[in-house]
């Protein structure tokens, strides 16, 4: 039987083994295995339909699944209400109840959520354009995002999950959103999981990166490791065949320049073949998200 009290051991906050999910007979997640330890900032990146949201929904207890998922020692689908005391999430910034005034929302949440502090939320709101007397339905999308962020930051949660939290926001709001999140919220006890398509914007925040493709985790690595593990090579045409022998995970020609990305290949060996560098996260994303036939090697998770 599942233990209903959260674990206090140094186990990972989230432990996933063999996670599968089917929709209408079609398998969407094909047996994911990963752990999320405390004090990390994870980026979960993938194309639309890759299975990111379904994975997060399984972690948050919003959907049933096959396999073993433990979040803070609890089975999420079975114990979602208990779990939500220590887990906060934003799945859609437009999901705040629009009929409420901001002040009413604070008062309600103070009674509904045992780990929510209305005072802390109001303090977070002081630096924003959101006022307590405003009706939520009248707020702009950027203000809604600020309010929702203030709400989740006022919850003493150990795991915060943000699924496309800045979708539809302009770049100013997006930058402010992430800045406040890291400066005002992150701590060693907390883990943050972010999914987004704007990979470049969250790259400086991340401690770990996970890439998903077609329901599979194709990369799960600390950011520091990514730089050591992957090498980008702009190869001269005469050395291309030689470089291809190292089995690049990505090989494409851009404006007449042949670009290859290698996984776990000694950079000193590649240096002789052309110009080497570290791929940015977005370059790596493009490289690894190509259909398998275009990837000569393929990154191991």
């Amino acid at each position: 039987m599942t233990d209903v009290s959260p674990t206090t051991t140094p186990e990972p906050l989230v432990s996933v083994r063999g996670l599968k999910k089917r929709f209408g007979g079609r398998e969407i997640l094909h047996g994911l295995d990963f752990d999320l330890p405390a004090g990390r900032v994870y980026g979960l990146v993938g194309h639309n339909g890759a299975g990111k949201t379904t994975t997060l929904n399984a972690i948050l207890g919003l959907t049933s699944y096959q396999g073993t998922v433990r979040v803070l020692g609890l089975e999420p689908f079975r114990h979602r209400p208990r779990l939500m005391r220590d887990v906060a999430f934003i799945a859609d910034v437009a999901s705040l109840p629009r009929f409420l005034y901001v002040r009413d929302l604070m008062k309600l949440l103070a009674r509904i959520h045992p780990h929510f502090s209305a005072g802390r939320a109001e303090a977070f709101l002081k630096g924003t354009d959101v006022r307590l007397g405003q009706k939520i339905g009248n707020l702009s999308k950027g203000m809604l995002a600020q309010l929702h962020l203030a709400v989740v930051m006022a919850i003493e949660a150990r795991l915060l999950v943000l699924d496309e939290p800045t979708l539809g926001l302009d770049i100013t709001f997006r930058k402010r959103f992430y800045q406040r999140l890291i400066e005002d919220y992150m701590s060693r006890e907390r883990t943050l999981v972010i999914t987004t398509h704007q990979v470049d914007e969250i790259e400086p925040l991340l401690t770990d990166i996970m890439f998903m493709r077609d329901g599979r985790l194709i990369l799960d690595s600390p950011m520091a490791e990514v730089g050591r593990r992957f090498t980008q090579l702009i190869v001269t045409p005469e050395r291309a065949t030689e470089a291809a022998a190292f089995r690049p995970v990505f090989d494409e020609t851009h404006f007449g320049r042949r670009v290859m990305v290698f996984d776990s290949v000694d950079a000193s060996q590649l240096a002789a073949l052309g110009e080497i560098g570290t791929p940015t996260l977005s370059d790596l994303f493009v490289a690894l998200m190509q259909p398998p036939r275009e990837n000569a090697g393929g990154a191991a998770a």
Binding site: M84, S95, R98, L100
Partner: protein
């Protein structure tokens, strides 16, 4: 319990327009109607329809107004249950409420609790104010119709109080009796949204038709389901005590009237209905637990 009360308050905040502001506007309209009736002497037509003292006129008027408020409450509650149970999905707020440490069952139960307590309670309060408005009107009657004797204020207030207690108890009994129907509409709404409005009726009718196809001969009236529903929608309460209280020249005998009202309630059916309501809400919560759209 604090969280549950907060969830009920959330229902109030979401639906106060229908159950507080709109009735207050209607009360203002009623006040204008009463004032215009008095000022234009049209009230004499009404007095002829209800001959007797201003006290008796008051009782009948209060009864009519209270009955209209009960109809208003019943109609709004039907639409409340058809709307509130899928409001989170429709308003795109489902995921926000699911991020709260409250179960789907508790959230749906809070909607049921709000639907049978604060909302009819608010309409009852407006009905009370209507009764007081009519007290003022009854006091003004002799000024408009000099042939009428000036009623005693304390008698009118005693009548208002007595009738209000009877109306309140009647409201509680009616709510207990009809709560399974409200819960049925709410549970359907969780599944199919606003289509719950026609389906709440079409499903039992469809079952009855099917039942008639396979066993028309033995079922009473051609359908066990329809026969049961016919019996279940009829409260079979004794209307005589309320009417007797209205027509009595003296103050309302609250104790006796309530005794007669309560004696006619089919308590096993009432308790069974409440249990049915809780069960269908629980089943609806099992469905909602799997819903993440919205």
């Amino acid at each position: 319990m604090i969280a549950f009360l907060a969830l009920i308050r959330r229902e109030y905040l979401e639906h106060r327009t229908a159950f507080l502001y709109a009735p207050l506007i209607l009360l203002a309209v009623l006040a204008l109607f009463v004032a215009s009736t008095l000022l234009t002497h049209r009230v004499t037509v009404l007095i002829e329809a209800v001959p007797g003292s201003p006290g008796r006129f008051y009782s009948v008027a209060y009864f009519v107004v209270a009955t209209l408020w009960w109809f208003y409450a019943a109609m709004l509650l039907f639409f409340y249950f058809a709307d509130a149970y899928h409001a989170d999905a429709r308003n795109n707020a489902m995921l926000f409420w699911k991020s709260m440490p409250q179960s789907d069952f508790k959230i749906l139960l809070s909607k049921l609790a709000a639907g049978v307590t604060i909302f009819p309670g608010l309409v009852f309060c407006i009905a009370l104010l209507s009764g007081l408005l009519l007290v003022v009107a009854a006091l003004a009657l002799p000024l408009v119709v000099p042939t009428l004797a000036m009623p005693d204020v304390s008698t009118l207030l005693a009548s208002w109080g007595g009738l209000s207690v009877v109306f309140f108890c009647y409201l509680v009994i009616v709510l207990l009796w009809y709560v399974p129907f409200f819960a049925w509409v709410g549970a359907l709404s969780t599944l199919v949204g606003r289509w719950a409005i026609p389906l709440a009726l079409l499903i039992p009718v469809g079952i009855s038709l099917f039942e008639g196809i396979i066993d028309f001969q033995t079922a009473p009236g051609g359908s066990y389901v329809l026969s049961f529903l016919r019996a279940r929608t009829d409260m079979r309460y004794d209307s005589e005590p309320i009417l007797a209280a209205l027509l009595a020249s003296g103050p309302v005998d609250v104790g006796h009237t309530l005794q007669r009202l309560v004696a006619y309630v089919d308590w096993p059916q009432t308790i069974g209905g409440v249990a049915f309501a809780v069960i269908v809400v629980y089943l609806a919560s099992l469905y909602r637990r799997r819903v993440i759209k919205g």
